[in-house]
């Protein structure tokens, strides 16, 4: 018994941790069953072990460390992934890209250029405009080409297309002036022209002819010309036919816009009576001119609103420097009204007087 207890104690650790071979285990179990001392010993060890395990089991790893580890693990993967991937074989997409990048970009580029060119040059109105600008004496006011294209049947009865035909004929008679137009256009297949005219300004004229001649010439050849009126509602056609042609109106407005600053600047200089190169050639007056035109008409209020960006003093000084006496006078008057006790007030007063003197119809140039 004592010898068995000795042996059992020696094996108790392995028994406790389940490391005994089955045969040895059966032996030890049999002894422990019949030996209260050894059973108590084993029980005490198991109890101790259970307490310790309970304490150890409560340890929880901190989540932030887990997060940091996972982040590092994820970051390490893409750093080393591409190396074997690149070494073994190019990926499907890689090969596809290598093979098709150039053709794709070339195609996209060509299509883009074509679309842009068609958009710019194939638009009959623009084309016509370009051709007209190339001529020294502007022809008679053109009628609406778009309206004509959309409702040629109705438009042919109106005088406008006739004018346009004259313009086209004129261009044909002046090939040098219109030669620039086809050069910048996308080339189109030559085609016998109705009326047997020379194909000098061929593309422009051709589209014009199509517009004028209506659906009698094949419209399928010109993908970017507005479609024939077959699909259009009859009422819409009538409305368009009798409505005032919009594109010339737009052109006219555009011309007015262009003309306005120049004339306004001229008017300003006229008012001053002294067109000085410094004022007109500096570039600043040119930028300010579009603002000045409405200002002169609508008064200081509008000018004030449009010149919010600069300070009132700076604006007044600028107007003074630009010799826009009337506006400068208003500006200085406003300044004096708002801040009469300013240290600059006396300067403003002097300048206001100078402006008023200069703005007088027969005034001499003010003292600078």
């Amino acid at each position: 018994m004592a010898a068995d207890c000795e042996q059992t104690r020696a094996r108790m650790l392995e028994l406790l941790y389940g490391e005994l071979a089955p045969a040895a285990r059966a032996e030890v179990d049999a002894h422990v069953k019949g030996c209260p001392e050894c059973r108590a010993e084993l029980g005490a060890l198991e109890s101790t072990r259970a307490m310790a395990r309970g304490a150890l089991a409560a340890d929880t790893p901190p989540p932030r460390v887990r997060a940091a580890i996972l982040q590092a693990a994820a970051a390490a993967v893409p750093a080393r992934k591409p190396v074997p991937a690149a070494a073994s074989r190019p990926s499907f997409w890689g090969r596809l890209r290598g093979k098709w990048t150039l053709p794709t970009f070339a195609t996209v580029g060509a299509v883009a250029v074509f679309l842009l060119a068609s958009r710019i040059f194939m638009e009959p109105q623009k084309t016509y405009e370009r051709g007209r600008q190339g001529l020294a004496p502007p022809p008679a006011e053109p009628a609406a080409p778009v309206a004509a294209a959309e409702a040629p049947a109705a438009a042919q009865t109106e005088p406008a297309p006739a004018l346009k035909r004259e313009a086209a004929d004129e261009r044909v008679r002046r090939p040098a002036a219109s030669a620039a137009v086809p050069a910048r256009r996308k080339p189109q297949p030559a085609r016998p022209l109705p009326g047997g005219r020379l194909p000098v300004a061929q593309p422009a004229k051709e589209s014009l002819d199509d517009l004028l001649e209506g659906s009698t010439s094949a419209p399928a050849k010109h993908a970017f010309v507005p479609p024939p009126p077959a699909a259009r509602d009859k009422r819409e056609q009538d409305e368009r036919a009798f409505a005032p042609p919009p594109p010339p109106a737009r052109n006219k407005r555009h011309e007015e816009d262009e003309r306005a600053p120049r004339e306004a600047a001229l008017e300003d200089e006229d008012v001053a009576g002294t067109p000085s190169p410094g004022a007109s050639g500096a570039g600043a007056p040119r930028a300010a001119a579009p603002r000045a035109a409405p200002a002169a008409a609508a008064g200081a209020k509008k000018a004030k609103a449009s010149a919010d960006a600069e300070s009132p003093v700076a604006r007044a000084d600028r107007l003074f420097a630009q010799r826009r006496w009337a506006e400068a006078a208003v500006a200085y008057r406003d300044l004096l009204r708002e801040d009469p006790r300013s240290p600059d007030a006396s300067r403003w007063r002097q300048r206001l007087a100078a402006c008023q003197a200069a703005a007088a119809p027969v005034a001499a140039p003010p003292p600078r």
Partner: protein, 212 residues
């Protein structure tokens, strides 16, 4: 059981770029390694650094074929515990004096007051009846912390990492009988330190533990 990939398979998958495989591996070993480190160095902040270091070694090992890491010659778990143990030993050597001082001051109990409460509340343990109060838990923690390093190391490897004695011997670099001897000493010391706990309500626990 067949559907569960081995550690080695998971590591191979992570080598191939599968981060989820690494996460699984981390899930398997994070807790035992943490408990081992924490109980070994007896300081939570240091244990956090070491925990990170251990698994960053795994990452590095998987990343760099030339790294002096697991080469498949041993079980991954054995390699991992060896890494953890060596880091602990290095650290303990550097801070031997400080660790001794904190042990004298009973610093372990102060280091983890929150987890002590959790221990009491933690379910599914046969010793729940014994861990009925916070004081008992504190006593157990202190008793484990009071074990000599070599005994505590073996005790933790057996209890936490559940390594067989032969493997512990391999990791520690001692003979198996030496390891068993240390383990026996550790258990006897714990038993002595916690005898009154086991004696109060522990007689029954010991009986029931023996019967179960």
């Amino acid at each position: 059981m067949d559907g569960i990939p081995s550690d080695e398979q998971l590591l191979a998958a992570y080598r191939a770029g599968d981060v989820a495989a690494f996460e699984k591996l981390l899930g398997r070993y994070e807790k035992p390694i943490w408990t081992y480190l924490r109980r070994f160095v007896r300081r939570d902040d240091a244990a956090e650094d070491l925990l990170q270091e251990v698994f960053l070694r795994v990452v590095r090992d998987a990343q760099d074929a030339a790294a002096a890491g697991w080469k498949g010659q041993a079980k991954f778990s054995t390699w991992l515990y060896t890494v953890a143990r060596n880091l602990c030993v290095d650290r303990s050597r550097r801070e031997a004096i400080r660790v001794a001082a904190s042990l004298d001051a009973g610093g372990e109990a102060d280091d983890a007051p929150a987890s002590l409460h959790e221990r009491i509340a933690a379910p599914d343990r046969p010793a729940d009846a014994v861990l009925a109060n916070r004081q008992a838990a504190t006593r157990i923690d202190a008793a484990i912390a009071a074990l000599p390093d070599d005994q505590r190391e073996v005790f933790l490897m057996r209890e936490v990492m559940e390594l067989p004695f032969a493997e512990i011997a391999a990791v520690v670099g001692a003979s198996e009988p030496t390891v068993k001897s240390r383990m026996r000493y550790a258990l006897e010391k714990l038993r002595a330190a916690l005898a009154d706990l086991a004696g109060d309500g522990g007689g029954g626990a010991a009986e029931s533990g023996g019967a179960g």
